[in-house]
Symmetry: C2
Subunit: 691 residues, 2 copies
Amino acid sequence: MTKRPEISRREFVSSAVSAATVTSLPFGKLAGFSGNNPTPLSTAPSSAMSSEWKDQGVLNLAKSPYAKLRNVPVHAVTIASGFWGARRQTNVEKSVPSMEKLLEANGRMDNFLRLAGKSNAPQRGPVFSDSDVYKWTEAAGFALQSGDRPDLRANTDKLINEIVAVQEPSGYLNTYYVGDRAKDRMTPEVQRWGHELYNMGHFLQGAIAYYRATGDRALMDAGIHFVDGFLLPNFGPGPEKKPIFSGHPEIELALIELYRTTGDKRHLELAGYILQGDERIKVPRHGYVYHFCGIPFTSRTHLEGHAVRAMYACCGATDYYLETGDQAYWKTLNTLWDDLVNHQMYVTGGVGARSDGEAFGDAYELPNFTAYGESCAAIGNMMWNWRMLAATGEAKYTDVIERALYNGINSGMSLDGTLYCYRNPLAFDPSSGDHIRNPWYDVTCCPPNLERTFASLPGYFYSTSTDGLYLHLYDNSLLDWHLEDGTRLKVLQKTNYPWGDTASITVTPEKPSEFAFYLRIPGWSDRTQVTVNGKAISGVTAGQYLALRRRWLPGDVVSVKFDLTTHVVEANPRVVDDYGRVAMQRGPLVYCLEQLDQPEGIALADVRMNVSQKPSSQFHEEFRGDLLGGVVVLNCVGAVNDDSRSRSGLYFRYNRETSKNLAAKLTLIPYYAWANRAGTPMQVWTPVVNG
Amino acid sequence: MTKRPEISRREFVSSAVSAATVTSLPFGKLAGFSGNNPTPLSTAPSSAMSSEWKDQGVLNLAKSPYAKLRNVPVHAVTIASGFWGARRQTNVEKSVPSMEKLLEANGRMDNFLRLAGKSNAPQRGPVFSDSDVYKWTEAAGFALQSGDRPDLRANTDKLINEIVAVQEPSGYLNTYYVGDRAKDRMTPEVQRWGHELYNMGHFLQGAIAYYRATGDRALMDAGIHFVDGFLLPNFGPGPEKKPIFSGHPEIELALIELYRTTGDKRHLELAGYILQGDERIKVPRHGYVYHFCGIPFTSRTHLEGHAVRAMYACCGATDYYLETGDQAYWKTLNTLWDDLVNHQMYVTGGVGARSDGEAFGDAYELPNFTAYGESCAAIGNMMWNWRMLAATGEAKYTDVIERALYNGINSGMSLDGTLYCYRNPLAFDPSSGDHIRNPWYDVTCCPPNLERTFASLPGYFYSTSTDGLYLHLYDNSLLDWHLEDGTRLKVLQKTNYPWGDTASITVTPEKPSEFAFYLRIPGWSDRTQVTVNGKAISGVTAGQYLALRRRWLPGDVVSVKFDLTTHVVEANPRVVDDYGRVAMQRGPLVYCLEQLDQPEGIALADVRMNVSQKPSSQFHEEFRGDLLGGVVVLNCVGAVNDDSRSRSGLYFRYNRETSKNLAAKLTLIPYYAWANRAGTPMQVWTPVVNG
C-alpha cells in the first residue's frame, strides 16, 4: 500500500518531442501511402526507459500477467487511404478541431478559467462537463500518437495548462463542486450523482494518452497528484478512511491503466476496492442496478442498468482480471459476456435498449425505433471486448469489436465529421420530430468519445503474443513494430476491405524468423481462402484465428479471399421487435433501408423482403463511388405490402389470405451511413414476405 | 362575464337526504335483485328545483345544445349481481374504504389538518396529492349516488369539513404551495408543473359528484369560491389579468361541468380560454406536446405527449363543443379520434405507449412489454368517448368505451379490490423485477380514478335522446327513469354478459308509448339476432345502434343473441410489436396467456398460436366458476417453438425451414384478470405458427 511509484518525473523528457521521419519502407511504392498521413513522431522501437512512454499501446499490457495478447503502440500502425483512413482523416482534420471550438464556445474551458480568475463566465454544462474536455484531450493524445500536428499539440498544451492551473493543492480538481458547492464534495449523494471520480477517470485516460503521445507528464502528474494526494490518503477501506461509491464507473479502468503506467500497486488495489463496492455507502436497490457499482462486481449475474456505466465497469473488471487473474472476476465476466451476445446486443453492436435510464432492457428486449444504443455504450462494448480479447486471444471478441466498430460506433459520427448521434436506433422516422445527428449536445459525452476511438484505432489492428503476432482488423495499413522477442517486423495490408473481398498482406521480418502469424477469420466469412506465397492453407475456420506458424522470410505474402456473400440474418424469435423480420449483412457491415432510396410513393413501413430465393443470388451488389463517400449498395426485388392502405385501422380479423404484396425494387445502404442525406425513414429489420 | 349563477345556496337542501325505498318493481321476482344492493337515495323523478341535483348524470347535458344524447342519473340504474355487480360491490365495500385509510396513513389528510393547526406532520406526497383526496371524494360521491351508506357518508363529510376548513379567504386552496412556497403560487413555472389547477379540477369533479349524491353544497360552494373568488378576478385574457397555462389538463372539463351545474357562463368561457392557450406563458416546444395545452386545442393534429393530459384535454374540448357547437373543435376532435383508433390505441383500449413521459408514441408505436397504458389514461379514453358518444349517438364510440372498460381499465384493479396497476402492459415477465399490482403508489392517481369509474358505471348504461332511449352497456340491471318527454320507464336487463350470449330486456313504460329504443349492437358481434316479443328484427348491423321504433307496451321483451365466436385478431402490419402475432377476443373481452396455465416447462415466449384452421372451431370455451372469480377460459391446441432452446444466441442466418414447432395445449384467460395469482409471464399477442 505504500510502495513508491516505479516511475518518477525525472525519468521522462517533458519537452516536446521532435518529429522524425518514417523509417524507410521496403514497400513504399505501394498504393495508399501517398504521404497524406502526418509524419509519425517516431517509429523506432526503443528499450530506453526515457522513451518507454511512446511504445505503450491503447492499453499497456507489457507487464500484465494474465494478458495473453499485448497491445502495439498506436504509432506502430499507419492506416493509409481506405475505409478507416478517410474516416480518421476527417476525424483529425475536422472533428477534433471543431469539437475543441465547441467546447470553448459552450463554456467548458471557461469553467476552468473562471477558477483561475481569467473568466467571469458562469459555470456551464452538467456536472460531468469536465470529462468532455478530458475526453477531447485523450482524442488529441491519440491523434498525436499517430504523428505530430503542431497546431493540435499547441492547442492541447494550452488546454492542459489551463486545466492543471486550477488543481487545488490537495490534488482535488473539479470545476463544478467549487464555491458554495465545495461542501458537497465526495458526499455519498454527490459520489452517486456528481461524477467527480468519473471526471477524474477521464482525466487520467486523457493524461495517459497525451503522455504516450508526447512524453509530456504535466497532465499525468496532476492525475497522480489527485490519486496519491487526495484519493488514497482519504478514501478507501478501513475505518480511518471514507468509503467510495463509483457512481459512474470509469475511475476503475483509469486507475488500472495508471497502475500500468506508474507501477504503483496502490492504484490497482484502489480499483479493486471500488469494483468490490463499500457497504458503508448504501443506495436504493435500483441504484446498484442503474449505477452498476456499489456491490461486488463478482455478484453480478447479468447486464442491467445504465449501459455505459455497465460497459465501463466491465472494462475495469477485465483490467483487474488481467492484472490479478482473479477467477471470480473471470467467471462473472464470462457470464456477463454471454448475456451480452445472447440477450442484449443489437445486430449493430450497439447496446442499451431503453431511453429510460439509457439502460439495458430485459433479455431479448431490443426495440428498433426506440433503441437507445448510445454511441458511448457501443464504444464501451468495443473497449470491453478489446480487454476480453487480450485475456484470451479468442476471435469471438474480435467479431464483436468489428460489429460495433463498423456499425453502431461508426454510425455515431456523420460522414463529414461534424454531426453526432447520441442515440443509434435501428429504425427511425423523422416525422417523430427527433433530430438524430447534431453538432452539439449539452450532454456531449459521445462526440469526443467517438473522436478518441477513431484516433486510437491503429492500436486495435494488431497484438503481439509470446509466440507471434495477431492481426485483428483489415484495412490498408502498415505495421512497423517488433515481436515480443525483439525481432523487428513490418506488415503491410493492401485491401479494399470491407467493399472488396481480398487482402494482400506482406510480412517483412527484419530477418528470417519462426513465429505464428494469427490471422483473424471473421465469423461472417463462411468460406475464406488463405494462401501464403500462393500456396493454399487448409483448416481455415470462420470466427477463429488462423495460426500460420512458419519461418517467415521478408516479403512473404499472405493472401486472403473473404466470403462477402450478403447474409440474410434473422434474430432469435424471442426478440419481439425483430420477429418475422430479417436484416442484411455483407462482410462486417449491417445494411439498412432509407426511404429516399426506394421507389417514390413507397412507405418504408410497408416494405417486405422477398427471401424465398437462394440468398446468394438475390442481391445485386453495386459500388457507388458517388454515394455517401463511396459505398457498396445492395439492390434487390422486394415487395410492398398493400394492406395498410387498403385497411386503415389498427385491428382486424386474422386472415392470412388477405395480405397483398406488390413487387418493388429496393436498395440498401450500409447502416453506418444512414441519416447523412435528407431526413427520411430508416430501418435495419424488414418483414419477410409470407411464403 | 358577470352573469349571476343560476343556482344559489338557498335553493338547495343542505341537510342529509333521508333514504327512500326503491319504487315497487313489476319484475321484482327476477334474479339478480336479491337485495344485496344498498337502497337508492331516491328513484323518483322530480322536476322541482330543490332536488334537481339528484337527477344529474355523470355529465349534466340537460341544457347542452350540441348534445344528441343526455345522461341518465347514476341512481336511475341499479346494477345487480353479475359481471359489474361483483366488481362494484368489491369497489364500494373494499376498495373505497381501504383507499381512504391509505390516503390518511400516507399523510394526505395530514396535509390539510396541518394547515388547520390540527397536525404536526410534515407535508407528504407529490404536488398533486390533494387531487387524490378529491378523486376519492368523487368516488364516494358516485357510490352514494347509487344509494346511501351512512358510514361512507359520515367519513366523506368529515373529509370535506377538513378540506374546506383550510380554504383561504381568497378562495385559494392547496396544501403544497403554502408557507415558504406560497410565493410560487400560479407563477408560470408552477402553473406548468405544480398542478394547482389540476388539483382544483378534481376538487370540482369531486364536489359535483358529492352534490349530485347528497345535495350537500359545502364542497361545491368552496369550489365556486375558488373559481369566482380567486381564478376569475385574477386570471384570464386581457392585460389586467394574469395568463393561465393548464399544465395538466383537467380544470377545463371540470369548469364546464361546473357551468352545467351553476349555469354561470363565465365558467364555460374560462374553460374555452384555457383550451385556447395564452401566448403570454411560453414553454419550450416539447412542453406544448407533453402538457397538451398552451396552444389552441384546435391547432392539434394528432395525439402526443402525456397520455392522461391529452385524454383529459380532449374531454374538456368535447365538453366545450357540446356547449358551443364550435366546428373548429369538432373538426379537431374527429382528427384526434381517428388518430386514436387508427394509430395509437392498444387492443385493450389502453393508451400511452411510452413510459418515458407516460406518453403517446409515434403512429403504430404500440410495444407490449414496455406499454405504459396507465389506468388513468384508459379511463380518460373512456371519458372522452363518452362525450363523443353524447355528441353523436354513434356506436363506434361505445365500442371504444366497452373495449377500454372491460379490458384496459378493468385490469387496473385486482379482483379482490385492494391492488392496483399503474401500468397495464400487454406482455409481462416478472423476472424483470417489476411489481405490477400494488396497494399504494406515492403517485396514487390511478387507484381512486378506478374507484370513481366503477362507482359511476350505472351512469354509462343508458342515455336519452329527444326521440327515445339508448342502451349502451349490457349487464343485469334495472333502469328506472323517464324519457325526455317525461314518460316514466323501466328497463330490466337479464343476462350473463359477457360470458353468455343472450340478453333479455324487458321494457316497461308507465303507459303504452311510441319511442325509439336504440339497442347497441357491439362491433365484435358479427351475427347478432334480435327479437321483440319473439319476433325477429331485420337490419341488425354490428357496430351500430339498432333503432327499435314502435309503440312500446309495459312488459315488452327484447331478446338479443350475441355472436360470441372467439375472434383471432391481427394488428395493422405497421405495428412492429404485433407483427406476425395474433390476439384473441371473445365478446368485449381480450384474452391473454399466463404461463402458469400452460403445460409445465413451456416458456411463454416460445408459444405459438396455430390459427390455420377455421377460427370458429379452434377454441374450446369453458366456464370455470372456480377460477379468477368465474371466467370463461379458451382452450386450444397451439404450439411451442423449439428454436430458442436449440439455437442459443441472438442472430442467425435466415432459414425458414429450421423453425421447429411442437404441439401444446394452451389456455387463455381474460386479460383483465391477469396477475391475480402467482407472478408469471403474460402476453396478449402471440406469434402464429408459420404456415
